[in-house]
């Protein structure tokens, strides 16, 4: 994906083009004052530098009322113009879009979870059809996060204890970055996701296929666990290929010998893995922070078993 640079106006969403227009408007005014002030600063510095061997004689100028008025009034008017232009686009951004599909966004350290109207949850990946308005209803399970799609020029903090909203209208097919923009702890910089904007027909096909998969149901526990691993966002902190992330890798975890941060060591059996899901900060692996949220209550017993079955397959 190319850089979402503001100067190459983004057509990715309904408001992105307007935001870029405001940016360029401010840039023009700022550019004018930049050239004016820096130009005079440098010109005066060179023009009126002290000449060698010349006895200085500078005029006794202490001020000029007319000039003071000029450089109070003109900037004030331009500032009001900048404010007003920014305001109109901000209002547009905050105005609810009619017939918007509602998607529930739950942020937690360090995962985005998107819940579709059909009840399905997907972690860190938001698929939207192009030209279809969407309302994101966002809440956090723990601390403050920030939902940020640079290409859309939109951002909104996600709070624990109260809902915040964002209206999106994707205008161009493509894959865009989602970042967490509000510092939320150790894995903050890895709390990223993708926003995939698809053509309407493809979106419908994807939706149908997913629903089909769900109905088919009869999965092995390991397959069920793999699906849970993806939908619960475990991969945000735990890799399955051995690479280090915020949390220990799960590659070969089952049956391995684990050294804890209190110096003890144990073998990672079913019981240890269950405890690590329900009381994750009781027995923390050496070299890691006690930051994992507890999944007690949010994962059912058979789901925990399924996850453990999946972990056994990660050789």
């Amino acid at each position: 994906m190319p850089y979402p640079t503001i100067l190459r106006a983004s057509e990715a969403s309904l408001v992105s083009h307007d935001v870029d227009a405001v940016f360029i408007f401010i840039l023009a005014i700022a550019g004018f004052f930049f050239v004016l002030t820096q130009g005079l600063l440098i010109y005066f510095a060179i023009r009126y530098r002290k000449k060698k061997g010349v006895e200085e004689s500078t005029p006794y100028i202490t001020g000029n009322h007319a000039l003071e008025v000029v450089w109070i009034v003109i900037p004030s008017l331009l500032l009001v113009a900048i404010f007003a232009y920014g305001l109109t686009v901000f209002i547009k951004m905050r105005t609810p879009l009619p017939n918007a599909t509602e998607i529930q966004v739950t942020a937690s350290q360090f995962t985005w979870s998107f819940k579709y109207p059909d009840g399905r949850s997907v972690a860190n990946e938001l698929r939207l059809p192009v030209d279809q308005p969407v309302k994101l209803i966002m809440i956090s399970r723990d601390v403050i996060h920030g939902f940020f799609v640079p290409a859309f020029r939109q951002k909104q903090d996600v709070l624990p204890g109260s809902y915040t909203y964002l209206w999106l209208l994707p205008k161009r097919v493509g894959t865009y970055d989602i970042y967490c923009s509000q510092y939320c702890g150790t894995g903050h910089s890895l709390m990223r996701g993708s926003l995939i904007v698809m053509p309407q027909p493809q979106y419908q096909a994807w939706l149908a296929a997913e629903q089909q998969k769900q109905k088919a149901g009869a999965q092995s526990p390991a397959e069920h666990g793999k699906a849970l691993f993806e939908s619960a966002g475990c991969g945000g902190c735990h890799s399955i290929d051995g690479s280090p992330k915020v949390g220990p890798t799960l590659k070969g975890i089952f049956g391995s010998r684990v050294t804890l941060n209190n110096g003890q060591s144990l073998v990672a059996d079913e019981e240890y893995l269950r405890e690590s899901l329900e009381e994750p900060n009781e027995q923390v692996v050496q070299g890691f922070q006690p930051i994992m949220p507890s999944f007690k209550g949010s994962l059912k017993q058979d789901e925990i078993s399924a996850l453990i079955a999946y972990m056994k397959t990660l050789k």
């Binding site: 408001v15 004052f33 510095a45």
Partner: protein, 540 residues
């Protein structure tokens, strides 16, 4: 200005004559207290600067490198907390303010010398608690947003206590300065004959006294929530996390003017001296300092446009924010007009003052993008913001501090520094600064969020540029400090008035005697009467 030649005997060390640690630790001399503040604050500038270099070093690569992400978070928290609370807030007001307010208004000490010493020592006590806490990993960011800060295992409670003490010191110093400026000016020094540094320090002190109690109370509430479990900010306990942000920025926005106004005061002193011209628009500069202090109290919400605050609040705060730009612009225009038809020499204090103007213009103009609602939504919490506040705080305040340190070094120490090395350092500092921070504007426009220990690979090239820039910047600062340290012992003896300034500190010896002036001067004119009064005269 009054004519009071008080030439000192060669080898007379003035206020520096007395030796031994007691002569410093128990001193009530505002100059010695000022010097202690300088050493303390510059010490933390160095420490926090080293942390910043480590942060930049890690950001050379997008993925895991050098140290863990958690360590990165701890380091940026320490960098921010130290540079804000232990360096940039006290650096000019408490250090140069203490040393020069009495000298510039022509009196023997501040109004409450004993309180002044007390302020210094509670500052040190606050530092000990704060640093002791920071060393135990603190990973909240210097903004301590709840509920992260009420839940993290880091020692937020004791940190609050340390910052509470530092805030106390700040309030008492501000109070001391207000009383000093009101009551102790030399005979004949009316308000409009005060140097502009004094006007700036006056506005600064008012902000310190009025805003610091709010952050003190906020830290107490934070501690109450953590220790007693009282639900104030954490929604899980029935609190409101946005309430914390309102309290925090109600202090932390005005306090950016505590950081910048004194630096603007220094620029207002340095520019006329080296341009050999009266300051242009004295009253406009003086009143704009007060205007900034006043409006600065009404704009804290511009840190919260995307926080979940209501749309209408965002609109009001955005509108008010643009009016801080007006008095700031007034200062810039007046400084530039002061140069007109001057006879400008480019000694190092002037170079730093001019680079303040140059860099602060960039910092100020980029603030427009952050003040405007539509564009702030995009660039808020990105590297654009990081670049903006480093241009205002480092390009502004720190350049102003460097201007002041060079300008007043001869007066404070009785020695001259090496001008050639000072200029070499200046080139490196200014070039390094721009190479480090300008790319961050572009990174922010491209959407790179701040406080990212790891980042998508597409942002790497500009991050590499920024990191390389930080090495030039560091080298410049090292040369500058080495020049100062070397000159403390080996510098040429300084004349009483090396820059031919008209303010009162230049009418006494370098370094000044303990009582500042052998005889209190009588002031008969404003301090900017440079130039030929027969030419193009205009009433000020």
């Amino acid at each position: 200005m009054a004519d009071h030649a008080t030439s000192s005997l060669p080898g007379d060390r003035g206020y520096l004559s007395e030796q031994g640690w007691r002569s410093w630790a128990l001193t009530m001399d505002h100059k010695r207290i000022g010097v202690m503040y300088i050493w303390t604050t510059l010490g933390f500038f160095v420490v926090a600067g080293i942390l910043a270099l480590l942060l930049r070093l890690k950001l050379l690569v997008p993925g895991p490198a050098l140290f863990s992400d958690h360590t990165y978070n701890v380091l940026f928290t320490m960098h921010g907390a130290m540079i804000i609370f232990l360096f940039i807030i006290p650096a000019i007001p408490s250090a140069l303010g203490n040393f020069f307010i009495p000298l510039l208004i022509g009196c023997r000490d501040v109004a409450f010398p004993r309180l002044n010493l007390f302020s210094y020592w509670i500052f040190v006590a606050g530092i000990l608690v704060t640093v002791g806490t920071l060393v135990a990993p603190m990973d909240t960011g210097w903004t301590f947003y709840t509920p992260y800060s009420t839940r993290t295992s880091a020692a937020v409670t004791s940190l609050s206590f340390g910052l509470f003490l530092i805030g106390m010191s700040s309030i008492l110093t501000g109070l001391n300065f207000i009383v000093t400026i009101h009551t102790m000016r030399a005979p004949g020094m009316s308000w409009y004959r005060m140097p502009l540094f004094i006007w700036a320090m006056y506005a600064t002190s008012v902000i310190q006294v009025l805003s610091t109690p709010v952050i003190g109370i906020t830290f107490l509430l934070l501690a109450a929530e953590r220790v007693f479990g009282i639900g104030i900010f954490d929604p899980a306990k029935g609190g409101d996390p946005l309430l914390f942000q309102h309290f925090f920025w109600f202090y932390s926005h005005p306090v950016v003017y505590v950081m910048i106004l004194p630096a603007m005061g220094i620029v207002s002193e340095v520019v006329p001296v080296f341009a050999r011209k009266p300051i242009f628009g004295y009253k406009a500069i003086a009143y704009s300092a007060l205007a900034i202090a006043f409006i600065g109290f009404l704009v804290w919400g511009h840190h919260m446009f995307v926080s979940g605050m209501s749309t209408i609040s965002g609109v009001i705060f955005s509108f008010l924010t643009f009016f801080v730009a007006v008095p700031t612009g007034i200062k810039i225009f007046n400084w530039i007009a002061t140069l007109y038809k001057g006879s400008i020499s480019f000694d190092s204090p002037m170079l730093y003052a001019l680079s303040f103007i140059f860099l602060f213009i960039i910092g100020g103009l980029t603030g427009l993008f952050l003040g405007s609602l539509a564009t702030d939504v995009h660039v808020h919490d990105t590297y654009f913001l990081v670049a903006h506040f480093h241009y205002t705080m480092m390009g502004g305040t720190v350049m102003g501090l460097f201007a002041g340190l060079h300008y007043w070094f001869p007066k404070m120490t009785g020695r001259m520094f090496n001008e050639t090395w000072a200029k070499n350092a200046w080139w490196l500092v200014v070039a390094g600064f721009n190479i480090t921070f300008f790319p961050m504007f572009i990174l922010g426009m491209q959407g790179m969020p701040r406080r990212y220990a790891e980042y998508p690979a597409k942002y790497q090239p500009l991050n590499v540029v920024a990191t390389v820039g930080s090495w030039f910047l560091a080298l410049g600062v090292i040369i500058m400090f080495a020049n100062f340290v070397r000159s403390l012992r080996n510098g040429e003896p300084a004349p009483d008035n090396p820059w031919r300034g008209l303010t009162l500190e230049w009418q006494t010896s370098s370094p000044p005697p303990e009582e500042n002036f052998h005889e209190i001067p009588t002031v008969t004119d404003w301090p900017y009467g440079y130039g030929n009064r027969n030419e193009a005269s205009r009433d000020h």
